[in-house]
């Protein structure tokens, strides 16, 4: 008897407390926007969500952030729940092909959905992201320019994952279009011990196969981890003085740190996460203001990161 009373009382009190805070947080007229993602623990997602929340506060919106801790099935469930709510817009950061059931439920409820570095899908009003082709072009042309259009390049690629695969295609086209650039090797690093270790081992093998100083002029990596692995291999082989140029993509904190040291790892590309968030917030505002959104994908310019700006945020 006592136990039941305690249980009932505690649950009721706790819930009532949250009800009070939830009710007080809701403002009658302000548009309410729900940000939904399974990836809030990822640094990029966190940056975008924080920035979006900030812009939304400036615009006077109520924002709720729902994170399902890498559980995509749970995200669909939460979308079904949100579909029953009186919300004005939903912003997602997740691959839309995996949550089509959730998108369908939300569409049926007539709630517009915006992608924040998500993907294209007919059920999204629009998606705002970075142009993967452009990012690859930026680092590949950096290599061509640094080598004055002449030299041999090792490429680290990864074809099974479409967003990374498209980077490799572009870089290869740029190198092939430069007559005096030779692609020595195209390597898909093994993931058994993580891409960094896999790239390091592969690069060690390439260095052994090309022992003459100056036989390798640059390493182009489709993302930062193999670039870091290649850097470690070059350092371990004692060939740092050859001036092999390394470039990556994504501007992870580890890559920024390595670039700031001023060694062989010279450049990477950063997505402008706050810029993506701002563009999404502006689109939501325009849409809620009755504007028609025709464009399905918006690209926010990326930024080349070198030793000069590696530690800027």
């Amino acid at each position: 008897m006592k136990r039941t009373m305690y249980l009932t009382l505690v649950i009721a009190l706790v819930l009532a407390g949250f009800a009070a805070s939830a009710v007080s947080a809701q403002d009658g007229d302000a548009p309410s926007v729900v940000v939904m993602t399974p990836w809030l623990a990822q640094p990029g997602t966190q940056l975008m969500v924080d920035a979006f929340t900030e812009y939304a506060a400036e615009k006077g919106w109520d924002v709720q952030v729902i994170d399902t801790a890498e559980d995509i099935s749970a995200l669909i469930s939460r979308m079904e729940d949100v579909a029953l709510q009186d919300v004005d817009a939903i912003v997602i950061n997740v691959d839309p092909t995996q949550i089509s059931a959730g998108l369908a439920a939300v569409a049926e409820a007539g709630i517009p959905v915006f992608g924040m570095d998500s993907g294209t899908d007919p059920l999204l009003v629009a998606n705002v992201t970075s142009n993967g082709y452009a990012m690859a072009a930026e680092t590949a042309t950096y290599v061509v320019d640094r080598l004055n259009g002449e030299g041999s390049v090792v490429m680290f690629i990864f074809e099974p994952y479409p967003p990374v695969q498209k980077r490799g295609i572009i870089a290869e086209a740029i190198f092939n279009n430069t007559p005096d650039i030779t692609i020595v090797d195209k390597i898909t690093p093994s993931f058994d011990a993580g891409p960094l270790e896999g790239a390091r081992n592969a690069m060690e093998a390439v260095l052994l196969a090309n022992p003459d100083p100056g036989s390798i002029d640059a390493v182009w990596a489709a993302w930062d981890e193999p670039a870091l692995g290649a850097l470690q291999a070059i350092q371990a082989a004692g060939r740092e003085e050859e001036g092999i140029v390394i470039v990556g993509i994504d501007a992870t904190p580890q890559a920024r740190d390595a670039i700031s040291m001023g060694g062989s790892f010279e450049a990477t590309v950063a997505q402008d996460f706050p810029g993506i968030a701002r563009q999404v917030a502006d689109l939501v505002e325009a849409y809620l203001g009755g504007e028609e959104i025709v464009q399905s994908t918006y690209y926010v310019p990326t930024k080349l990161i070198t030793a000069a700006n590696a530690l800027d945020e």
Partner: protein, 338 residues
């Protein structure tokens, strides 16, 4: 001084009544807690929570967890654990997804997926029952193996798009049309129906068969059961095979609901399934798991997630609250049993 026999009887029956009530509340405390939670959300969200559409929604949302928790109950009746169910569900999804991508027929892919589940369960059963490794260690090992296999087979990538036949993804979204309630089209989701079937089968197996009674006997006292002629090793093995198949069914349901197969998409199921069984165990006087009580645990988890989202409560707070309620229920139940 003597007490009249009449007075003693009255006192006894009065005390007996109190004990009976206490027992009743001890047994149904969690159920009452559930009713309180439901009443609370109904009060807070009168329009959107307490309606047929939302409840149908909730049953679909908990359907996959429900299957894993139901078959996990069988293992936990034996005082064993199966930690590998989550990664098993992911791996089976990847196996079926890969077969579908390579052009195998839907029936073949699903059938082989179930077989993989049974095989994984068999491995767990052999390790625990015949090689006598503790279930915690054995299934922790296979948890890691299944995770690695899922990543290896898929190359770490998600299988989606045209690789998954529309028949399968439509199944995960569809259901049997029931009628129009309050102007809303109501369908009984196919995923809910699967869970109901699994639930009924597990209930019959555990509560209505000799097999089930023997499982409870083993869980009560393994040595006594063995001396009583129960084939303990065989039954433990079978419990793990059933758990593996439950995980496999859940993995296939996930592929259908997500219209994709990702090497980690089922991993979160294990902890929630165990939590649901524990919540259910608070309703049993002997602290034994029973599958209907497990379903109440599953529903509590599902209703909390649904209601708290509707109330727009931050997800981090939701987790704190859900975990707190589990700890509270189990604490009160164990205190009252002392």
């Amino acid at each position: 001084m003597t007490t009249s026999p009449q007075a003693t009887d009255d006192a006894r029956s009065w005390r007996g009544g109190r004990v009976r009530w206490a027992r009743l509340f001890r047994q149904f405390g969690t159920l009452i807690g559930f009713i309180v939670i439901v009443a609370f959300f109904s009060w807070q969200k009168p329009d959107t929570f307490m309606n047929v559409r939302n409840w149908v929604n909730i049953t679909q949302q908990v359907s996959i967890l429900g299957v894993v928790a139901a078959t996990m109950t069988i293992v936990m009746v034996l005082n064993d654990f199966d930690l590998s169910v989550g990664t098993m569900a992911s791996m089976v999804g990847i196996v079926a997804g890969t077969l579908l991508r390579d052009g195998y027929m839907l029936g073949v892919a699903l059938g082989l997926g179930l077989l993989v589940g049974a095989g994984g369960g068999l491995l767990n059963g052999v390790l625990v029952s015949y090689i006598r490794i503790s279930p915690f260690v054995a299934t922790l090992g296979t948890l890691t193996m299944f995770n690695g296999l899922a990543l290896y087979i898929s190359g770490g990538t998600t299988i989606f798009g045209r690789a998954i036949p529309t028949a399968l993804s439509d199944f995960g979204r569809g259901g049997i049309y029931l009628g129009i309630v309050d102007g809303q089209r109501i369908t009984l989701p196919y995923l809910t129906i699967i869970t109901l079937v699994v639930l009924i089968v597990v209930w019959i197996v555990l509560e209505q068969t000799v097999f089930g009674r023997r499982l409870y006997a083993i869980g009560g006292n393994m040595e006594a059961a063995r001396l009583g002629g129960v084939r303990v090793r065989m039954l433990r093995l079978m419990a793990f095979v059933i758990s593996g198949m439950g995980a496999a069914i859940a993995g296939l349901m996930l592929v259908s609901r997500l219209a994709s197969a990702n090497p980690t998409q089922g991993d979160g199921l294990m902890l929630r399934a165990i939590a649901a069984v524990f919540l259910g165990m608070t309703m049993s006087e002997e602290g034994e798991p029973h599958v209907l009580a497990t379903m109440l645990g599953v529903l509590i988890l599902g209703v909390l997630a649904n209601g708290l989202t509707q109330m727009q409560i931050d997800t981090y707070i939701q987790q704190i609250l859900t975990g707190g309620i589990i700890v509270l229920a189990v604490t009160l139940s164990s205190l009252s049993r002392r």
